[in-house]
């Protein structure tokens, strides 16, 4: 009987269409595959897979040196352990991070690092944010068999090595992060290894100061307490510090910062990662402005009556300003008013000031900023630089603080061409001019001069009304930086009554002259900015996050960086 004829072989399936080349590799970590971008280092790729490969010398922005020997892993197909940071990614790479060999390799490196490392934890600032502590705890052995004299570096320990950095070579683990930072990021190459072998240390030529613009970042990248910042030395144990997302007030580059505070005292700024602006870095000028946030001379609202100055409650002071405004409008008209914003105030605050001027139909409004030397910071794409001594001149101008039709600005007032009767300076620290007796005298020609301040200067001493204003740490808001990027800063702690944020004082004044809602928050004001100011449309401050599309002239809204 005839069997069914055999089926003809099926036609070969057509070849799959060639897709776009992958920009990822498949890497297997401990048996689990994951797609990782090709350009990453293996340590970074592991992090994507949720695996911590401990390391010291690797830094995502510095050249790879493979020196610390902590990141040891097993690679399938290679009998000896390998440093993960120097293992190139490739498709199908299989990495093992939990084998006995890996564990004992890590423990060995930890043991070697600790034999000469001083037991300084009780007196070392790095404790609590020390990679050596963390990796020892996570991957080291408890007991040591080292019974020799630890290596010392007399003359190279506990020594100030520049205006901001204290060096202690007994703690150094020779990872070269600081050397590479100064060479590759700062471009100043002050640091080098000296000598060799077990006697190797890091120092500058002839002990010259480590004085580049970012020396604080060298202390940041140091994984141990070999380089620490002088200003922070012994101030506070880091585990007590609260971290608040903020933006540096030092210039218009707008580096993202973390305000580190406790109990209403700001102890330091740290950089906050934002690869689009400042990346991992923060310049010394901005970093060490942290102390200035704690300075305060003005604790209460005051009203000058003749030669005496009286403490009053804030609402009373606000009402006094409102009265003076109304008086000017009635007698001379809105042209007798002059409103001066500030490059140090937020978009919300400058916006409120301008709305007050609008409501009063006053065309005389302005903002100025001092020029400074160019400051810059390096991110993976470019150097971002700015030369304005305030964080938000751009934002303040875009909020509308420019003389309107027929109006005049600060220059006219200071040159005598214009003579306003009633001047409101929203921020008494707006520029160096505020502490210049001659310039203040010109402002003082007005019948009424009101301001809000934190620290005293020629202007506060001359003003009729001084409101007590909060520092950057005590309020929230947004700044617009040199890249047209709107960046939000959070509040670290509430101001101590009767001190209030500038936005709150301005809102109280607005309500006193008949505009606005006393219940508005900075988020509400930001929504109005989004609705009214060209280029700011679409911003929404959600639960602290800025959402929205790229609607500014270039760039987009930023809340990038670590939480």
């Amino acid at each position: 009987m005839s069997a069914n004829p055999p089926k003809p072989p099926a036609a070969a399936p057509p070849p799959a269409p060639a897709g776009p080349p992958k920009d990822t590799f498949t890497v297997v970590f401990d048996g689990t595959p994951i797609e990782v971008p090709k350009h990453l280092n293996l340590i970074e790729a592991a992090k994507l897979a949720g695996i911590d490969i401990p390391h010291f010398c690797f830094h995502p922005r510095l050249s790879v040196v493979g020196q610390c020997r902590m990141c040891l892993v097993e690679i399938e197909g290679i009998p000896k352990i390998q440093a993960a940071c120097t293992t190139p990614l490739k498709d199908g790479l299989s990495v093992k991070t939990t084998t006995d060999k890996v564990k004992s390799g890590r423990a060995a490196t930890m043991e070697f690092l600790l034999i000469n490392h001083p037991l300084d934890c009780p007196i070392c600032d790095q404790a609590g944010e020390c990679t050596l502590q963390d990796n020892s705890f996570g991957y080291g052995n408890q007991l040591s068999q080292f019974d020799e004299t630890k290596r010392q570096y007399p003359g190279f320990d506990r020594t100030l090595l520049g205006p901001h950095v204290i060096a202690d070579m007994t703690r150094c683990i020779q990872c070269t992060r600081c050397i590479r930072f100064c060479h590759e990021i700062a471009g100043t190459s002050e640091l080098t290894f000296l000598d060799r072998g077990g006697r190797t240390l890091v120092w500058t030529h002839d002990g010259k100061p480590l004085a580049n613009d970012w020396s604080g970042c060298a202390a940041d990248v140091c994984p141990v307490g070999a380089l620490t910042t002088r200003e922070f030395r012994f101030r506070k144990r880091v585990w007590y510090l609260n971290k608040t997302r903020s933006v540096c007030p030092g210039c218009n580059v707008g580096c993202n910062t973390s305000i580190e505070s406790k109990e209403e005292i700001v102890y330091r700024f740290l950089p906050r990662l934002n690869p689009a602006v400042n990346d991992y870095w923060l310049c010394d000028h901005g970093r060490f402005l942290s102390e200035s946030l704690n300075a305060r001379d003005v604790h209460k609202a005051t009203i000058r009556a003749g030669s005496s100055v009286q403490d009053v409650h804030v609402p009373a002071a606000i009402e006094k300003i409102a009265q003076e405004i109304r008086k000017t409008v009635e007698t001379t008209g809105p042209s007798g008013l002059f409103f001066l914003g500030s490059a140090h105030l937020s978009n919300e605050e400058n916006f409120l000031l301008r709305k007050i001027a609008d409501h009063l139909a006053c065309p005389n409004r302005d903002v100025v900023v001092d020029k400074s030397r160019t400051r810059k910071v390096k991110n993976p794409k470019e150097w971002v630089s700015g030369d304005e001594a305030g964080a938000n001149y751009r934002g303040a101008k875009e909020m509308g603080l420019e003389p309107g039709r027929g109006g005049y600005g600060l220059e006219a007032v200071l040159s005598g061409k214009a003579s306003p009767e009633c001047i409101l300076v929203a921020d008494a620290g707006f520029a160096a001019a505020a502490d210049d007796a001659e310039k203040v005298a010109l402002l003082r020609r007005a019948r009424f001069l009101g301001t809000a301040a934190r620290t005293a200067n020629a202007l506060t001493r001359a003003a009729d009304v001084v409101l007590p204003a909060a520092s950057l740490a005590e309020k929230e808001g947004t700044f617009t930086n040199v890249q047209d990027r709107v960046q939000k800063f959070d509040r670290a702690f509430l101001p101590r009554p009767p001190i209030r944020a500038h936005w709150e004082l301005l809102l109280m004044l607005a309500v006193a002259i008949g505009w606005g809602d006393r219940n508005w928050t900075p988020a509400d004001v930001l929504e109005q900015i989004a609705a009214e100011v060209e280029g700011y449309g679409g911003i929404r401050a959600g639960d602290g996050e800025l959402e929205g599309g790229a609607l500014l002239k270039k760039g987009d809204f930023a809340w990038a960086g670590q939480p």
Binding site: F156, S189, L191, T192, L194, T204, H205, D206
Partner: protein, 172 residues
């Protein structure tokens, strides 16, 4: 355990390469594609010119080669043959590696100590002799092997060392 090479001493006066040295340096520079690669040879020129490399000399080398002074320091302190402080007229280099050790090198060091009053890394008060311990100088078959400045003296023993020190000490 051993001496350190952290401090480059000051000469106390400026160091500028004299014309003959600069001419040699110009020739050296033609042999390398980068200025940095000429660093070790130029440091040798500096040592031949001034006998040792001071901070001022290191800065002059950095200037000539357009390198950061810290880079020059890093190289200068890594390589043990560059003198970081003035040395005596006769730099006694006694090898103490294994074959010379087996042949009694330490005895020669003690002999120098007794005779000249100096130990390793020290210079005699009259400035005539400096003493250093060095690692293997490839004279193992004529151990113990020593060098004085750029010359080998091997094999060395108590008698020969005594005669050598006599002769060198007599030099004007």
């Amino acid at each position: 355990m051993s001496h350190t090479r952290y401090r480059v001493e000051d000469a106390g006066e400026p160091r500028v390469f004299p014309p003959e040295a600069m001419a040699r340096i110009q020739k050296i520079l033609t042999r390398y594609p980068t200025k940095q690669a000429a660093l070790l040879p130029v440091l040798w020129v500096a040592q031949e010119t001034w006998g040792w490399i001071s901070r001022e000399a290191a800065e002059e080398v950095a200037r000539v080669l357009e390198l950061p002074p810290s880079h020059v320091d890093g190289v200068l302190t890594f390589y043990t043959m560059y003198n970081l402080r003035p040395v005596g007229r006769h730099l006694l280099q006694i090898c103490t590696s294994i074959s010379c050790h087996l042949a009694g090198a330490e005895g020669l060091i003690e002999q120098c100590r007794a005779r000249l009053g100096i130990g390793p890394e020290e210079t005699s008060r009259d400035g005539k002799f400096s003493l250093v311990e060095v690692e293997c100088i490839a004279g193992c078959d004529r151990a113990p092997s020593i060098m004085v400045n750029d010359t080998y003296y091997e094999p060395m023993d108590e008698k020969r060392l005594s005669e050598l020190l006599d002769r060198l000490g007599r030099e004007a």
